[in-house]
């Protein structure tokens, strides 16, 4: 079934110098394991292609059923140099939760309340 990531996860983002990071936490271990194969660095880079001009790096946190993405060069220089409205990437987590994915039917029961 087609869903947006907001149905199966929470996210938070912030700045790391000229880069931003987006942490995404899944609601169930099985969903996390499925996401490992789906939310690749390439897929996330494509999603953020107009924002992350640099490299996207993924870190795994299996203990929290979470992934952490570094979005390279995504803040127009970052900090006080940036001319962007969202100079600190505060909203990048919400941008990731808009991503549409095809959730296998057997994981549908792990959707979170909207």
């Amino acid at each position: 079934m087609k869903i947006r990531l907001e149905e199966i996860a929470h996210a938070r983002s912030g700045d790391k110098g000229p880069h931003s990071n987006v942490g995404i936490v899944f609601g169930h271990e099985d969903v996390y394991k499925w996401a490992l194969a789906v939310l690749t660095e390439e897929r996330v880079k494509k999603h953020f292609e107009a924002i992350a001009l640099g490299k996207v790096i993924r870190y795994e946190l299996p203990n929290l059923w979470a992934l952490n993405f570094m979005l390279g060069d995504s803040l127009g220089g970052g900090g006080s140099l940036s001319l962007k409205n969202d100079a600190q990437g505060k909203t990048h987590g919400q941008a990731l939760l808009r991503m549409e994915v095809d959730l296998p039917d057997e994981l549908a029961e792990h959707r979170l309340e909207l």
Partner: protein, 449 residues
């Protein structure tokens, strides 16, 4: 029974709620209150203030808070740890002493110094610390004459030392943000410099709470599930000797603490989670175990740490030119097309008077300023906000930009409004230069009086 140490955070940044710390103190049931006032750029502002008036250079808000709550602090025996000392902890201490005298109270104040290395830069470079930019590798020489502040993120044992010596209020400058919470744990439990797991545990507790309500319902993805945002409770951690702790908030407050709120904050401003470097240790965030106990209580345990690195991180600020931003609201049929045209007109007029910039930015708020390419914008919205910005080393050009927004309301397309607050003025850009310095070159001083 194991002793439980309760550490609360009432301020996540300079500008955070002024009521939160008061609520925490009056609500009681806490041993230590931490208050974070410093962002990277704040110290630069404070150095400037101090240059003009030597008795300034610290967070005045903190002094006002203590004036408001001192009787409660003393009655409830709550000790406060803050980085409000900025670049002039002794002056902040003196201001607090004056406040105490007004309340006819005597308080012991600890000050921590040695983090400010602005006056030592050349000496440190000569001693073999090049202070090159950690991100880019550039030499400090490229910005040396424009440096406005330089502070070392010093370790948390200096906070513990001030508490050991009986300080009721500890004033630091640039310590690490999680260190404000770790310091009292080192003091209370006697953790040692090589107790890496325990230091890592205290650092995680500090990381979870350092942004105030961001772990108790603030900035929460499922915001519609949060009860009573207006009365949101700020976080309290209940720590045991073995480093395990419960994240919670005071009874009767709004917000929520659950697995999600804590997980979201654990990941905030995170780089490589297995190598989270602090002045005190290196934390592995993939090691910790998290358990939602219900009733706004989340337990974290089994945290693993590794030896600290042999250098401190340095936060250097420098002047990097000027910038300005201004907004116009563009309404009517085909508002998006019209707003783009308005941007073109303004930039052309500036170009015609010789104003080209190192960087410009034209954004349509409500359309694509935050999530370009991700969410499809509405086809024909009734109005959009045009936000224009520029950056340059020439201040006059940036100020000239500010004069070119209002005229377009009468000499450009119809349906433009929302130009309030006067002409945008050039703001100085204080940029951030992260560097490293060997620990043996930094000496800290702790004074309690």
């Amino acid at each position: 029974m194991d002793r439980v140490l309760r550490v609360a955070n009432g301020q996540g940044f300079w500008g955070d709620s002024v009521e939160a710390p008061v609520q925490l103190i009056r609500g009681g049931g806490i041993d230590f209150l931490t208050m974070d006032y410093l962002a990277e750029v704040t110290l630069s502002i404070m150095q400037r203030q101090k240059l003009k008036r030597p008795e300034t250079g610290y967070a005045r808000d903190f002094v006002e808070l203590v004036d408001r709550v001192l009787p409660d602090l003393l009655e409830k025996k709550i000790r406060v740890i803050s980085n409000a000392g900025g670049v002039n902890a002794p002056a902040c201490s003196k201001a607090l002493k004056d406040v105490a005298a007004k309340h006819k109270a005597d308080i012991r104040i600890g000050t921590i110094e040695g983090d400010d290395i602005l006056h030592r830069l050349d000496e440190l470079i000569a001693a073999g610390a090049p202070l090159a930019n950690m991100e880019t590798g550039e030499e400090l020489a490229t910005i040396r004459d424009r440096v406005t502040a330089a502070n070392v993120y010093i370790d948390s044992f200096c906070i513990a030392e001030a508490l050991d010596k009986g300080a009721q209020i500890v004033l630091a400058g640039r310590v690490s943000d999680p260190g404000l919470a770790l310091g009292p744990m080192i003091h209370a439990f006697g953790w040692g410099r090589e107790d890496w797991d325990l230091l890592a545990a205290g650092t995680v507790a500090g990381h979870v709470t350092e942004c105030g309500a961001q772990c108790s319902g603030g900035n929460y993805s499922r915001w519609w599930q949060v009860k009573d945002y207006a009365g949101i409770g700020y976080p309290v951690v209940e720590v045991l000797q073995d480093g395990s702790f419960v994240v919670t908030k005071q009874p009767g407050t709004g917000g929520l603490v659950n697995r999600w709120s804590v997980c979201e904050q654990l990941l905030y401003e995170m780089g490589d989670p297995q190598h989270y470097i602090s002045p005190d240790t290196m934390v592995d965030f993939t090691s910790l175990s998290l358990e939602d106990l219900g009733k706004d209580r989340v337990r974290i345990s089994k945290i693993k740490g590794a030896p600290a690195t042999d250098s401190y991180k340095v936060s250097i600020s420098y002047l990097a030119g000027y910038k300005a931003s201004g907004q116009l609201t563009v309404c009517g049929p085909r508002a998006v097309e019209k707003a783009r045209a308005v941007a073109g007109i303004i930039w052309k007029r500036l170009e015609d008077v010789g104003c080209s910039y190192e960087e410009t930015n034209s954004e349509l708020l409500g359309i694509d300023s935050c999530h370009p390419g991700i969410a499809a914008p509405p086809a024909d919205p009734p109005e959009v906000v045009l936000r224009l910005s520029c950056r340059d080393t020439d201040r006059a050009k940036v100020d000239r930009f500010g004069k070119e927004l209002a005229p377009v309301i009468t000499n450009g397309p119809s349906g433009i409004t929302g130009f309030a607050g006067g002409r945008p003025k050039a703001q100085e850009i204080v940029a951030y230069w992260p560097a490293l310095v060997p620990k043996e070159l930094i000496q800290t001083r702790v004074t309690v009086e």
